[in-house]
């Protein structure tokens, strides 16, 4: 079978001593920056680009890829331990992961994250190996109308993430959408909502908002409740998930993996939707839906498997079409161009060692990461026992450094402080930050696709229903909205006293 030959070729490349070393360096570095709040893979890869000039191209790309998915692993660590999402994909993990940590179950949470990520990585690598070219064709079928409808569906899913008041969650999503629009408008070039501040011309970065709303708000609220910090240092039970845990997380991981793999292929931001799509799906089908938001293990397994699967499959548009799915992929294209490799459809045929070597090394990298991260869990747990008064200044410092390093501008830190204040107020008013962040990420993308679809259809709004893929997304979104709204209305009438946690 040809695929077997290809995989053998790939492994022979990936397992060469130099490439193994590159992979190790990459995942180590990736984990480190994933764990440090604020510093992300984009900044790191950009800085390391010059070093890759002098390296063998395959090795260089293996290292950079390792940094990317290594950062995913690291990002879930901080999401679980301190409620700080390192990447947009870890936002969802914060919800249940952090709650699990608060209840002394940080160990199982971290182990779950590592294990399901590995599983998802393996499966996704296999999918990439088997289906890369036909999947690329699917990616081509997604035009602006399809993306817009997918994002509408994604936003409806974001509302499901909330476990409090439905209306306030929707309002937070809309607020996020609006805040995401700050900056230069793609279609017209007009600078919106920026009050002439040129630093805002490219909008507000995700990292800045996340650090502010999650990081600063969390630290301040923790400082205000002195006594309750002891929850963390309370007896930390097993470091490993129980049998019961495994029984619950396996189906969640399976669903998450396939959903994530599917969404990761879409170049226009599909991988973002992977984690919260998986979370929503899980919440809807799980028997333990009531536990979601309080530390349900499925709430960690589903998004983590989805985002890792999505991370692997997002290499497909890069390697087959030469289209970057996100900022990191754009950097990878840069790295390839430096090496004189023109990314595009011919890479697979002209440079099979590169293509299959990278795919095989993704598996190797995932293996390294799980081997690396599992023993570290003990260390992370110890970290939680550090008195908070020593922990939080450290977190603040790393956040400050990370945010500052984004564009070497103190202005970003100012914005982070603003979002810190906003986050604090929102927490006090019981408005949840997670839906807002997701709206923030999707807002500009949605508008861009909406306008482009309308432009291409010359103003015909029915185009969203005329295209089959787009129509199906919208229909699912409407159904989902109905499902969410109905029980809420019923619940309001019955359990008026116990609506909010």
């Amino acid at each position: 079978m040809e695929m077997l030959n290809n995989l053998l070729l790939g492994f022979s490349v990936a397992l060469s001593p130099f490439n193994i070393l590159m992979c190790l360096v990459g995942v180590l570095l990736g984990t480190l920056i994933g764990v440090l709040p604020g510093v992300g893979p984009v900044a790191t890869i950009a800085m390391l680009l010059p070093i890759t000039f002098n390296l063998n191209p395959i090795g260089a790309l293996i290292m950079l890829a390792g940094i990317y998915y290594g950062a995913q692993y690291g990002g879930s660590t901080t999401a679980i331990l301190v409620n700080l999402p390192g990447e947009s994909s870890s936002v969802v993990t914060c919800i249940d992961g952090y709650q699990m940590a608060r209840r002394g179950r940080a160990g199982p949470a971290l182990a779950t994250a590592a294990l399901v990520s590995f599983f998802a990585g393996c499966v996704a690598t296999l999918i990439v190996a088997m289906f890369a070219p036909p999947l690329a064709e699917v990616a081509l079928k997604f035009g602006p109308a399809e993306y817009f409808s997918l994002m509408v569906l994604g936003l409806v899913a974001a509302v499901v993430l909330a476990h409090g008041s439905l209306i306030k969650a929707i309002a937070m999503v809309v607020l996020g959408l609006l805040l995401g629009l700050i900056g230069t408008d793609v279609n017209s070039g007009v600078l919106r909502f920026a009050f002439g501040i040129s630093e805002l011309a490219d909008g507000i970065g995700f990292v800045v908002v996340a650090m502010g709303m999650f990081g600063i708000a969390e630290i301040v609220t923790n400082l205000e409740h002195t006594g309750q910090r002891e929850v963390f240092t309370k007896k930390v039970t097993h470091l490993w998930p129980t049998k019961e845990d495994f029984r619950r997380l396996i189906p969640a991981a399976l669903r998450g993996t396939f959903l994530g793999a599917a969404l990761g292929i879409l170049p226009g931001g599909g991988a973002l939707l992977a984690s919260f799509g998986a979370y929503t799906l899980e919440k809807k089908v799980s028997k333990y839906a009531h536990e979601f938001g309080q530390g349900a293990i499925e709430g960690v397994a589903a998004p983590e498997s989805a985002n890792n699967a999505g991370a692997q499959t997002s290499f497909i548009p890069l390697l087959t079409l030469g289209i970057p799915s996100n900022a990191v992929m754009a950097l990878m294209i840069g790295a390839m161009m430096i090496q004189g490799i023109a990314p595009g459809p011919q890479v697979m045929n002209e440079r099979p060692q590169l293509f299959w070597g990278m795919i095989a090394s993704m598996w190797v990298g995932n293996l390294m990461l799980v081997v690396l991260n599992l023993p570290l869990i003990g260390m992370w747990i110890k970290l939680l026992t550090v008195p908070y008064r020593l922990l939080y200044p450290s977190i603040l410092l790393f956040m400050g450094i990370g945010v500052f390093s984004l564009s070497n501008n103190p202005f970003d830190v100012l914005i982070m402080a603003f979002f810190g204040l906003l986050g604090y107020i929102c927490v006090k008013l019981e408005c949840e930050p997670a839906p807002m962040i997701l709206g923030f990420i999707l807002g500009p993308l949605m508008e861009e696709n909406l306008r482009r679809a309308m432009l291409l259809s010359r103003g015909d709004p029915l185009v969203f229903f005329q295209k089959p893929i787009s129509a199906s997304f919208l229909v699912v979104a409407i159904i989902l909205l109905a499902i969410i709204a109905a029980p809420n209305i019923r619940k309001k009438r019955q359990e008026v006293f116990v609506e909010e946690t």
Binding site: V42, A46, L49, P144, V186, A201, I323, P343, P345, S407
Partner: protein, 320 residues
């Protein structure tokens, strides 16, 4: 009069003295675009080589924003001691000043234009299913179907966009402009057939042309590209005088001493000729620019500014 002369003499002496000791600390090369893009990559390539010859680290600082204006403005306002350089591009120095109404710097007077690094042509590429295999056929098609053809570009005000507008003007056709965030998603839609044509830059178009995913009709420069020698130019195809490239080069704040400028010019040109740098720049579709001296570069920037000011105004390529 004597005072003025003394001042000039002192300044020159100071300039020379400065140049002697220059560089005395790490040099900042501001890349006003996001990391990973062609401008950023070429900046890093150059920085690596310059480090060796200057003896001090040359650090690339990404300052993306406002189409490049942010980084450029920062550089214009920096101390002119030769330790701050910036990559100025056609966007920041020729197009944006008119497109955005005003920019917080003067592209000619606030800078010393040290060396032109890269000049890349754009290529007119069409979707394979479009029934046009030459520029003439395309023009006929566009005239037969006014308003029905869509042309994509990487952003409003990019050379791809303006090339399209100029094309429309010179041929008297009406096509709808569809802006994207970057060349990559635009190319994706072009290949998929959601848009019909694009004036893509050579670096991004070459792999797709070679891979048979799109059909190339012409280049936007007056001279044929050495990468696609069989491809006619738009000038040859009936649009007389059509000559557009995307370019960028190294600049410094206006009052940077002459001695520093001259030394930098020499070093940069030498770095650009190093085989590995040249190789990689060629991979981007760039040919070695004909413009070598700072004076030529300044004249070039001024000329481009005038051309694009006129073009932007005529095409009405302004915010919706």
């Amino acid at each position: 009069m004597k005072r003025a002369l003394t001042a000039i003499a002192l300044a020159a002496a100071a300039g020379a003295a400065l140049a002697q000791g220059w560089p005395s600390r790490p040099v900042r090369l501001i890349a006003p675009y996001a990391a990973g893009g062609p401008i950023d990559i070429s900046a890093r390539l150059l920085a690596g080589k310059l480090q060796e010859s200057l003896g001090q680290p040359v650090v690339v600082e990404n300052r993306p924003g406002a189409g490049g204006n942010l980084g450029v403005e920062m550089a214009a306002k920096s101390a002119p001691d030769g330790h701050t350089l910036v990559i100025g591009a056609i966007a920041t120095h020729a197009i944006n000043p008119t497109l955005m109404g005003s920019v917080p710097y003067d592209p000619v007077r606030d800078f010393r234009h040290i060396a032109l690094m890269v000049q890349v042509p754009n290529v007119l590429v069409v979707n394979l299913d479009l029934p046009a295999s030459s520029v003439a056929e395309l023009i006929a098609l566009a005239r037969a179907r006014p308003g029905k053809l869509d042309f994509a570009s990487g952003s409003t005000g990019s050379t791809g966009h303006l090339a399209g507008e100029l094309f429309k003007q010179m041929t008297g056709t009406y096509m709808v402009h569809i802006p994207y965030k970057g060349a990559a998603p635009a190319v994706l839609d072009l290949v998929a057939g959601r848009v019909h044509l694009m004036f893509d830059n050579l670096a991004s178009a070459l792999p797709n042309i070679r891979g048979g995913k799109v059909r190339a009709l012409a280049v936007t420069t007056k001279k044929r590209s050495s990468f696609l020698p069989d491809l006619p130019t738009l000038d040859e195809s009936g649009l007389k005088g059509f000559d557009m490239t995307t370019w960028w080069g190294v600049m410094a704040p206006a009052k940077t001493p002459q001695a520093v400028v001259e030394r930098l010019n020499a070093e940069i040109l030498r770095a650009l000729e190093a085989p590995d740098v040249r190789e990689r720049l060629r991979a981007m579709g760039s040919e070695t620019p004909a413009i070598r001296t700072p004076e030529e570069f300044t004249a070039f920037v001024a000329a481009e500014g005038r051309i694009y000011a006129e073009l932007v105004r005529r095409s009405g390529a302004k915010p919706d």
